[in-house]
């Protein structure tokens, strides 16, 4: 029985369980639902969860454990010489491929099930027979591989059968237990609500565990990188010049510098514009204007960053060239190419405007009307009220919004790749091309690189650095927001 059928069988069982549970509860109360501890539906759901929870947990466990057991069983059948000739992983993938080919042959009717489990390499050309039904094998099938594949098939076949039996049995036992427990005094509602709570906990932990997983995957590779390349050179090196032939200099300083420089320019653009837009929208705009303008502003947030990158590359860059480049309108030649820190920073700032404005707008709106009344009632004008009461009250939230925008800016990639250039440089001139940490992570990991070389592994160290910086910023933002949140009530 394959996975979809098991799931369908469980669902059918659960549906039946709902009806039976609900019916039994009602009949135990003599058909009067007021006599029941919980609403009749809860008894039905109680049976449903008693069927599904154990059965699905078993199924998940089986799905995880069976491949591991299978792997160790089959790989023990492969001789040392074969492993020494290539590697265990390669041999095993051959075995799995042959086994799947045999499965396909059986299901297409090109081979009987008996033949599939008994054919011998000496008697049949397995490779060409599998080739006929569309399974291409890279090399000639050896007798050992074929035997291992047949073992693989038989174990996994038994496993699948056992899986169906065990899972359905668990469902049936759950069904029986739940129905037996159902009577009018059983607290079905409490059971169902406990289960709901655990489902919610599970959803929350998946998000957290994923973060942990990401951090762990970064940490292992980062540690590997620092084994090959001295950490001091990485953190304090002023030159970034990777060469895959060896002898690279992998100093993070120029990349961090450009990242900070571009983020600063982006924030210098986004914070005033976004904040002023938020003040206008929340304090001065009429409801009609607000109803139109706020969604329009938020459209900016929905534009993919690659489109902003194109905007930087094709519009803002050439525009700046016309102003600051040689032969430009200002008669200075400060800029040698359209890609520059300023190009990327300005466009990134535009991208961040809706971030700052939308969050600040919500925060300004959350300042109680009583604050405004208090100030207006003392004879303050609207703008005095905004400046001296509303903004100070909203400041922690606004700082939080700015820090979130900053961590967004630091992590931005596409705009930098297209707008800022690819040269790692340490310079004060904002009109020069530089490149950031994120852009270099992309360039170090794309292409045919040896994954064990420091030039490729450095990407993980860069990613880890970035992760730590943005995590720090986010924690700081949350701290600020929490600390001052209760200033007004």
């Amino acid at each position: 029985m394959s996975l979809p059928y098991i799931l369908i069988a469980l669902l059918v069982l659960a549906a039946a369980g709902y009806i039976v549970g609900r019916g039994k509860a009602l009949s135990s109360a003599g058909g009067d639902s007021r006599e029941l501890h919980s609403l009749p539906g809860y008894y039905g759901w109680n049976v449903v969860v008693s069927i599904l929870v154990p059965a699905l947990l078993l199924l998940i466990a089986w799905l995880i454990i069976q491949p591991i057991v299978l792997d160790s069983q089959v790989s023990s059948k492969i001789s040392e010489e074969t492993i020494a000739a290539s590697s265990l992983d390669l041999v095993m993938s051959d075995v799995v491929r042959v086994a799947e080919g045999l499965d396909l042959a059986v299901s297409k009717g090109a081979m009987s099930a008996d033949t599939a489990s008994s054919i011998r390499i000496e008697l049949t050309d397995v490779r060409s027979r599998l080739g006929e039904i569309g399974v291409a094998l890279g090399s000639e099938v050896t007798a050992e591989t074929l035997r291992a594949a047949q073992t693989y098939r038989s174990i996994s076949g038994t496993g699948l059968l056992l899986r169906s039996i065990v899972v359905l049995a668990a469902g049936l036992i759950g069904f029986a237990v739940a129905v037996l427990r159902t009577n009018k005094d059983f607290r079905a509602r409490n059971v169902v609500e406990t289960v709901v709570r655990y489902i919610l906990i599970a959803a929350a932990s998946i998000a957290i565990l994923t973060t942990v997983g990401i951090v762990l995957s970064l940490i292992f590779n980062t540690v590997e990188f620092f084994r090959l390349y001295p950490a001091a050179d990485f953190f304090f090196g002023l030159t970034w010049s990777p060469s895959f032939g060896g002898g690279s200099e992998l100093g993070i300083v120029p990349l961090i510098w450009a990242t900070m420089y571009i983020s600063l320019i982006a924030l210098a653009v986004a914070v005033p514009i976004g904040l002023f837009a938020a003040i206008y929208l929340s304090e001065y705009a009429t409801p009609h204007v607000r109803a139109v303008a706020k969604p329009l502003l938020e459209i900016l947030a929905g534009i993919p960053t690659i489109v902003y990158g194109l905007f930087a590359l094709l519009t803002v860059g050439p525009l700046l060239m016309n102003l600051f480049g040689s032969g430009g309108a200002l008669g200075v030649s400060w800029m040698s190419g359209a890609s520059s820190v300023f190009t990327a920073g300005a466009v990134m700032g535009i991208m961040l405007i809706p971030f700052v404005s939308s969050l600040s707008d919500d925060i300004i709106n959350a300042v109680p009307q009583a604050m405004r009344d208090g100030s207006l009632g003392l004879g303050a004008t609207h703008s005095e009220t905004v400046k001296q009461v509303i903004l100070p009250a909203a400041l922690p939230g606004i700082v939080g919004a700015i820090l979130l925008a900053a961590s967004r800016a630091i992590g931005e990639t596409m705009i930098v790749v297209l707008g800022a250039g690819a040269a790692a440089r340490l310079s004060m001139n904002p009109l020069e091309a530089m490149t950031t940490v994120t852009a270099k992570i992309v360039s170090q990991l794309t292409g045919d690189n040896d994954f064990a070389s420091p030039e490729a592994l450095v990407a993980f160290a860069l990613g880890m650095t970035l992760f730590v910086v943005t995590l720090g910023l986010n924690i700081f933002a949350l701290y600020i927001v929490r600390k001052y949140r209760e200033q007004y009530d």
């Binding site: 009429t286 409801p287 109680p368 009583a370 604050m371 405004r372 009344d373 208090g374 100030s375 207006l376 009632g377 003392l378 004879g379 303050a380 004008t381 005095e384 001296q388 009461v389 100070p392 009250a393 200033q487 007004y488 009530d489």
Partner: protein
């Protein structure tokens, strides 16, 4: 200043501080206040009473044009303070509110220090020429509000950290600091416990010496305790207005009698 004397009025009572004639207030299509005429006496406490939704708070807010901040609100008729129509286009509502201060239902200190809360108004209106003058205004406002002894050693602590009663007295001190002539109070004790209420009532009684006070209250005992004159509102109409003891002991209108004896509201 409008110099036209109102002889009829001058004959019957002393010069009133606020004189409202035929005041109508609309919220969109709702006619919230109908034909209210009232004279409010200087240096006394006038209480507005009436059931919820009767328009007493709305009328109070027309007296310093706080209703201007609500888009759909429209006021007709004339309200004169010291003979000057406050709805005249020449009048700046911001200047008006400096002269007619307001204390709200819920204490609403700014999230600033106690000192900055009091100094807020004087700073905005440029009332103090130096730091020492500002210090003096802050101290005297707190003294008048009876809060000085409690807070003089913690002026730099946030105003939001005080108890509810202290916060409300801080708000009264904040209103006093801009030296208004009239103070409007919109149910100033409804969020306070009885002890804090007693203190605020005592304060209102003292403030009567220097300010004209109009107070909206739900509590008839409070109106009886603190006010000299009482106005009873019902369904947007000013039903009856007169000396507090007359209203409570000898009401002329059946509706007033029903309300103060607790038959409705």
């Amino acid at each position: 200043m409008n110099e036209m004397p109102n002889f009829e009025q001058a004959k019957t009572m002393t010069e009133s501080k606020i004189s409202a004639k035929k005041v109508q207030v609309y919220y969109g299509d709702t006619h919230a206040i109908k034909d209210v005429d009232i004279e409010i006496q200087p240096r006394s406490v006038t209480a507005f009473i009436g059931p919820s939704g009767c328009g007493k708070s709305t009328f109070l807010r027309t007296l310093n044009r706080m209703n201007d901040t609500i888009d759909i609100c429209r006021v007709e008729g004339s309200i004169k303070i010291d003979g000057e129509n406050i709805y005249d286009p020449k009048v700046d509502p911001v200047q008006l509110r400096a002269k007619v201060g307001m204390v709200f239902q819920k204490p609403n200190p700014f999230p600033k220090s106690i000192y900055d809360n009091i100094a807020y108004g004087p700073r905005i209106h440029g009332l103090a020429r130096s730091k020492s003058e500002l210090d003096e205004i802050v101290a005297s406002s707190l003294q008048k509000a009876g809060l000085w002894e409690e807070v003089k050693n913690r002026l730099d602590e946030p105003g939001t950290g005080m108890s509810g009663g202290q916060q409300q007295r801080l708000c009264i001190a904040r209103a006093i600091a801009v030296s208004p002539e009239v103070i409007l109070m919109d149910e100033p004790c409804s969020a306070l416990d009885p002890i804090a209420t007693a203190k605020v009532e005592e304060l209102i009684d003292e403030l009567r010496e220097n300010f004209t006070i109009v107070i909206v209250t739900h509590s008839m005992q409070q109106a009886a305790r603190v006010s000299q004159r009482t106005a009873f509102f019902h369904l947007g109409i000013l039903v009856e207005e007169g000396l507090t003891q007359d209203i409570f002991t000898n009401p002329k209108d059946k509706r007033t009698q029903d309300y103060i004896t607790g038959r409705f509201g």
